[in-house]
């Protein structure tokens, strides 16, 4: 009996070691991609959740970053310097993120870092970057990353507040003044709830019902039944898949005819797939990447969005995601700063802060010493779902 147990244990340990070895091999492979060049390369780091829970976000970020660096190097690099990108996987875990940050700063001596994928990990490593006086451009959304301003930390994704403002603009235009709010109980959902509770009353919009659901909840009919019993003229749902898709399905089941407005957290093809027919008519604020082709020809973002889409799909043979877009913006902003600032961390920081009218996937960025977020409500469009496809409703 005991020998069997021991055998099982050793089997488990061997499997674990094998997996760890596989991971290490993967890492070292990434590091081997050095390019022969004359001038010293610019070393930059990236921390993404390539595996783990946030992998659907981190994977396209890593792929986009690698694609862009390859593009820049093919075009001759930055002022003759090739870019060398070192990617670390933090699995969306705060401790691993901190270890990766220390490694990049101390061992690899990178000039700046792009990432992380999730808000929690960025918040965990911000102080390290301030202490090491190294610029960090985060691909995570939380407003806490840029408020209060940490001089060394920037972010590229749109803030929840601007998404809420976009929805409120839309509601006002439709003459809707009573809404029901339902949110995921995770950090994203609660953040949306706080913003809506703060901003809606200012616009004279009353929240007549507040409901929540858990990330693993599988039936939201009780919450929606409650909403059905109120005078709400629209339901606003704040969460990440799959919960919001179940809300859409349950609303159809309960024959609720009031409009459902989702958040930018579900601006992905997965939501349409999960909600099926129930996705029909759902509205949400979103960046313009998913509706790039429908933008009018003169729109400043149109060309770059279509180019990014084509390049990414061509290289990885899968559709682009907003998250990859956040990495696109971060790398491009950093590349611009490197071009103007050279291999000096303090100058790079200043030049990131001086970034003006940069057209990115998330919107047009204007950083300043007081604003390390750089976007406003204009970063969002209202998008609807029609025939299983995204439809631009209003710019």
């Amino acid at each position: 009996m005991k020998s069997r147990l021991r055998m099982l244990c050793s089997l488990a340990i061997i499997t674990g070691l094998a997996m760890a070895a596989g991971l290490l091999a993967g890492c070292s492979q990434a590091k081997k991609e050095k390019v022969e060049e004359v001038k010293e390369p610019y070393k930059i780091g990236a921390i993404f959740a390539v595996t783990g829970r946030a992998a659907p976000l981190g994977e396209p970020e890593k792929e986009t970053a690698e694609m862009l660096v390859a593009q820049i190097n093919e075009a001759g690099g930055i002022n003759g310097h090739k870019l060398e990108l070192i990617v670390e996987d933090d699995e969306g875990d705060e401790t691993k993120s901190l270890m990766a940050a220390k490694k990049l700063i101390e061992k690899d001596q990178v000039l700046a870092v792009v990432g992380t994928t999730t808000s929690g990990t960025t918040l965990a490593i911000m102080k390290t970057f301030e202490e090491a006086q190294t610029p960090l451009i985060s691909c995570a959304a939380s407003v806490k990353i840029v408020e209060p301003v940490n001089p060394w930390v920037f972010k590229t994704p749109q803030s929840d507040r601007d998404a809420v403002l976009k929805i409120l603009d839309y509601l006002e235009a439709q003459g809707i003044n009573k809404i029901a709010f339902i949110n995921d109980s995770n950090a994203y959902g609660v953040s949306g709830k706080i913003e809506v509770e703060a901003l809606a009353p200012q616009r004279g919009i009353e929240i007549v019902a507040k409901e929540t659901f858990g990330g693993e909840d599988t039936d939201m009919t009780p919450q929606l039944t409650r909403i059905k019993g109120t005078k709400a003229q629209a339901v606003i749902c704040w969460g990440t898949n799959p919960g919001p898709a179940i809300v859409a399905r349950n609303m159809k089941q309960l024959k609720m005819s009031i409009p459902l407005i989702q958040s930018h957290g579900v601006a992905n093809a997965k939501f349409i797939e999960l909600a099926g027919d129930a996705a029909e008519g759902v509205l949400l604020p979103s960046g313009r990447l998913i509706v790039a082709e429908q933008l009018p020809d003169g729109h400043p973002q149109k060309q770059m969005l279509v180019d990014y889409k084509t390049a990414y799909t061509g290289k990885y043979n899968k559709p682009v995601s907003t998250f990859g877009g956040h990495a696109y913006d971060a790398i491009k902003i950093l590349a611009g700063a490197l071009e103007r600032g050279g291999a000096d961390k303090a100058k790079i920081r200043d030049e990131i802060e001086n970034t003006k009218n940069f057209v990115g996937t998330a919107g047009v960025f204007n950083y300043s010493p007081e604003d390390h977020y750089g976007l406003d409500v204009s970063a969002f469009s209202m998008v609807g779902i029609k025939g299983g496809q995204w439809q631009l409703v209003s710019e």
Partner: protein, 298 residues
Amino acid sequence: MTITEQILQYVLSGLVMGSSYALIALGFTIIYNGTNIINFAQGEFVVIGSLLMVTMTEVYGLPMPLAFIIAVAGTALVAFALQRLAIHPLRNSNAMTLIIVTIGASIVLRGISMFIWGKDAYAMRHFSGEEPIEIFGATILPQSFWVFGITIAAVVLLQLFYRKTLMGKAMLATAVNKTAARLMGINVENVLLISFVVSGALGATAGIIIAPLNLAKYDAGVMLGLKGFCACILGGLGSSGGAIIGGILLGVIEALGAGLISSSYRDAIAFVILLLVLFVRPQGLAPLKEMMMGQEKQ
């Protein structure tokens, strides 16, 4: 919607969720009666069943009934393997060791599901039609009737199996007294194996009928398993009648609580009930084993 209509809606929603809890709880009960262990991998059976069903229908395009049989059989096979590879070699250990083994097995099964199906949720077609039906102001999906119907059918089949087949009777006998059963010439090892297979099949059934309503996701088993366990305790551990009543009651209380009190406490309600029952009435609603055994004595 008036308050009565709302309550009717909560009860209907609760009955649907409750039916799946009941089937999961029944799975717990069968294994508990055979081996005296709580199989914490029960929730994974549910998930594997639903994900297999999604693969069979959406990827291979098999007709529903065939896909249903394959998914149930596939999950039963997983349960078979679990018993042979993880439980059987340790059969002489105490129950606590085996319970911990099932926890480990649940983590392994979840990991394997994640590797095979990925981290995304999957949508599944309804068995027939998606147009909601109105009943006195409340609405219900046709799928819900499938859930009720198949749950009832599974319970009836299980009772027939217990009463009419030799194997079923052997399982009951083993549940009452393992040593006596062995002395009567019953192959107890086989009985234990069959109880895993049957409970795997029941878990898969629960997963499959509920998947069109709830989506199928690799990590949904944790919560479903815990809810099923709560239902077991509520109904009285070891009683199959109790498991069914406990499951349905839990589903309805949960829905009413979420609707009438606050949806924030939805999951808390199940666990508060679990604690209350353990404090106040540890034997559950049905006195231990009486319901199932009582019927058998007649």
